[in-house]
């Protein structure tokens, strides 16, 4: 099969399904009684299983299958939802995610998940959680090695049916049907077998469930619980008549097992069943609903369509195509400019009108094209509830995560980059910010800590904030550490504001492993967070009050593909300087320029700022030397270092679309990219960071 063709789609959809699983699981944890949620999770898992089996990722399909069994048991009210069970399911989802990521990275999605599988199996078979509470006897997948009499497990309801049937002189059987290994149309055989069964009695349940049998999701053997007044032998013969059936075993269900209450540790299955039976009431509605499953088997297609997903009204578009669209659109925009000027020259009213209308449509179009790359920040945020839940369980803390503004939109390129820094910051808040319940109580705070993740637009920026009501940053210890690490000097520290001190934890060189536990924990790898955010053209700041909490605030540009720049001119060349690095512009006199070690500098508000003559750096060919005694200077910054870029003149501020120089020209000194100006010419973007050491 042409697998590669579908791989990308598979990966995307798998991620979506896993995300849906996580979200619904979190919801389920809050409303453990709501079985509709389980249904949702089950559906996602089921689709994922089908997809991965089709794509040939057996491990993925297998683990999903095991997880599905547990979910199925929950759905059918055989297991009660407990945090412990959810832990295991979450663990499975984590594994599945890893597998999918592995596949996305070109791997084969293999992973050692034995431990999790064992846990799932034991949950499914009712231990240890269900063994203690007998009435929640779960469905079991057949243990291959077990010789236990009963292969299936029954819930109260099913037991009632069985007991009741015996009162009406029906026999209850457990039938194990084995199809031949080389059976070609397993689903068809299943259908034929069920037809025979239904003619002669009622199928109570099957393992795997009927819809799985229909989809051929079983090896070669399946089990059916069955009520009939036919003798076992006849049934066996009838079923054997179906071709490609290898073996049929019909065992009568010993209903005494249901009734007696002897408990044996080695036979938990039986034990669970017995206890349940002891407390069982007779449910008169049972026989009417029992045949529901076999019926489903006969209406293969109808069943599926009704249970389908609600489709979202979006389509996937390759981002490259959007780029092409954007390029074409810019071409159009340039032509629009030309048309407008031609129309002005010709001064023909109809032409004017048409051009104007076209111009307006183009404006709308521009908006749409630009917003098409925007993605809701939710796609990043939605992985955090699960993460916080896991962390708080691991750390024995009580934490609520509030998410505000998940619908805020950001450019796709920013979204892709911002995930890891946020993970870091949230971990940091949960791990080191929020105190343990005891400490919180001692401080007079509620036991449950709160972490709030906020996103909102403001101007041309998106702000993402992580606020916790935890311990805050211990100013003195941060300072001590920073001084001992040589990040700041003692003298410097005297004039620092609290905010500046807080932000020391983001400094590189500050965070080493031994700092974590030392300085109120804050500081592990946060310099990486800072540099990632800065590489996105963003900014991070910290506000913190000790024992009250901290706010990490990230400011990000709306999009990376459109940036605000200052256009400047040198001779006849136009360069763009990103506004994010510019502090201000100023005009200086020749006499303001001072010499320091062969470096021309100026005094800018009391600070010595080195001058960079762009004309020299960029080797701009000069027709004639011009010197009118003044220089235009753009003051730019990198971190806390300043420099003055000397240019001929300022043109003005403009929003530009960022373009790369292509694969041929890479690593051009001090040029970070290019853009196309309104006149169709290319202007280069100055990389201010490269100009400052």
């Amino acid at each position: 099969m042409e697998v590669n063709q579908y791989l990308e789609m598979f990966i995307e959809e798998s991620k979506e399904h896993l995300q849906a699983c996580s979200e619904h699981l979190l919801e389920l944890e809050k409303n453990p009684e709501d079985l509709a949620i389980v249904g949702e999770i089950f559906r996602s898992a089921h689709t994922l299983k089908g997809m991965s089996a089709t794509m040939g990722f057996e491990d993925l399909a297998d683990l999903t299958h095991k997880m599905e069994n547990v979910l199925d048991a929950i759905r059918n009210e055989k297991i009660k939802v407990t945090p412990e069970i959810l832990d295991v399911v979450f663990e499975s989802v984590d594994h599945l995610e890893e597998m999918v990521y592995d596949i996305a990275d070109g791997g084969n999605g293999k992973r050692n998940v034995q431990e999790t599988v064992e846990k799932l199996k034991s949950i499914e078979s009712g231990e240890p959680v269900a063994a203690a509470k007998a009435p929640t006897a779960p469905v079991a997948e057949t243990p291959i090695t077990s010789n236990a009499n009963l292969k299936l497990k029954y819930d109260d309801f099913e037991k009632t049916v069985i007991l009741q049937s015996s009162e009406q002189d029906f026999n209850a059987y457990e039938i194990t049907i084995t199809l031949r290994e080389d059976c070609l149309l397993k689903a068809a055989r299943v259908f034929m077998l069920f037809e025979i069964l239904e003619k002669n009695g009622d199928v109570i349940k099957s393992l795997p469930t009927v819809d799985k049998l229909e989809e051929e999701q079983f090896d070669s053997e399946f089990h059916v619980a069955y009520i009939s007044n036919e003798p076992a032998e006849d049934l066996q013969k009838m079923l054997m008549k179906v071709s490609e059936v290898d073996h049929v075993e019909v065992n009568e269900i010993n209903q005494d097992v249901f009734k007696t209450s002897a408990t044996s540790v080695t036979e938990e299955i039986a034990a669970a069943v017995q206890e349940v039976a002891a407390t069982t009431e007779v449910a008169p509605t049972a026989p009417t609903t029992a045949p529901a499953e076999p019926k489903a088997a006969t209406s293969t297609n109808g069943n599926k369509s009704s249970g389908g997903h609600t489709t979202s009204k979006t389509i996937r578009v390759n981002i490259e195509r959007l780029d092409i669209l954007m390029n074409l659109f810019e071409e159009l925009a340039i032509d629009r400019g030309r048309l407008l000027s031609i129309a002005a020259d010709v001064n023909h009213s109809e032409l004017n009108e048409t051009v104007e209308r076209m111009s307006r449509t183009m404006g709308d179009l521009q908006n749409i094209v630009l917003t098409m790359r925007m993605v809701q920040v939710e796609t990043v945020f939605n992985r955090f509830p699960k993460m916080v839940r896991q962390l708080s369980r691991d750390l024995n803390k009580k934490i609520t995560l509030n998410i505000v503004g998940a619908e805020t939109e950001l450019d796709r390129t920013v979204i892709d980059e911002i995930g890891d820094p946020l993970v870091h910051l949230i971990r940091n808040s949960v791990d080191h910010g929020i105190e343990s319940p005891e400490v919180r109580r001692a401080k007079g705070k509620p036991e449950e800590g709160t972490v709030e993740l906020r996103a909102y637009h403001s101007g041309n920026y998106v702000f993402i904030e992580i606020e916790d009501d935890g311990a805050g940053i211990n100013r003195d210890r941060v300072l001590q550490k920073a001084i001992s690490k040589g990040v700041v000097t003692h003298e410097q520290s005297l004039s620092m504001t609290d905010k500046q001190i807080n932000e020391l934890i983001l400094a590189s060189g500050f965070s080493t492993a031994d700092v974590i536990s030392d300085v109120s924990g804050r500081g592990v790898g946060l310099d990486v967070v800072k540099s990632t955010i800065e590489s996105l053209g963003g900014n991070i700041s910290i506000d913190s009050t000790q024992d009250v909490g901290s706010v990490f605030s990230i400011q990000l540009p709306l999009t990376l593909s459109i940036i605000s720049v200052m256009l400047v001119e040198i001779e006849r060349e136009i360069y763009a300087i990103p506004l994010s690095s510019i502090i201000e512009t100023s005009i200086i006199r020749n006499s303001d320029i001072l010499n320091a070690h062969n470096q021309k500098v100026i005094d800018f508000r009391g600070k010595v700022v080195p001058l960079v003559f762009l004309e020299e750096i960029f080797e701009v060919p000069r027709q004639e030397q011009k010197d009118d005694g003044f220089h235009s200077v753009v003051i730019v910054r990198k971190g806390d270092k300043l420099a003055g870029l000397v240019v001929d003149s300022f043109i003005g501020q403009q929003e530009i679309v960022l373009k790369s120089l292509g694969n041929y020209l890479t690593n051009i000194f001090a040029i970070s990219g290019a853009t196309i100006l309104g006149n169709g010419k290319v202007a280069l973007i100055v990389d201010c960071n490269a100009l400052m050491k």
């Binding site: 390029n327 080797e619 701009v620 120089l661 292509g662 020209l665 051009i668 040029i671 196309i676 290319v682």
Partner: protein, 148 residues
């Protein structure tokens, strides 16, 4: 792919540079553009004239005369930029003129005669003799990769 000699029958774009005719397999040619505004890119190889706006895509442009150390000429009415594409790179070649598409029989292509002594020969994949014309087939990989 770029080794033109291996192919049986070759469709090429023929262009003029100084007094010689050169050829590039048509499969590598994306288009031929009239000369347009070229933005100089500082601190790059001498023969890189700069970048152009090729329908919204910033595309670098190489002056082939400079690349081959031929005498530099002014821009004429016939000057063209041939946009070639190699693997993931799109690059423009500035040439004196480009106006012919030819089919070359693979058999008429010969190895570059070894006596020719100029920097140029590094870039040559072979020569093709067509009646009274001599076409020089370019080795695009080498033209694009810096020599050092």
């Amino acid at each position: 792919m770029t080794n033109a000699i291996e192919q049986k029958n070759l469709k090429v774009i023929v262009f003029q540079l100084a007094d010689k005719e050169y050829a590039i397999p048509v499969s590598h040619v994306k288009g031929i553009e009239k000369l347009m505004h070229i933005t100089r890119v500082p601190k790059t190889m001498r023969y890189v004239k700069g970048v152009i706006n090729l329908r919204g895509v910033v595309t670098p442009v190489i002056d082939l005369r400079e690349r081959f150390d031929l005498p530099i000429s002014g821009n004429e009415e016939t000057t063209r930029i041939i946009i070639i594409t190699l693997e993931t790179m799109d690059v423009g070649f500035v040439v004196d003129s480009a106006n012919d598409v030819l089919d070359i029989d693979a058999e008429s292509i010969e190895q570059q005669p070894e006596v020719v002594g100029s920097l140029e020969e590094e870039f040559i994949a072979g020569v093709a003799k067509l009646e009274n014309r001599l076409l020089i087939l370019l080795h695009l990989d080498k033209v694009l990769n810096p020599l050092d």
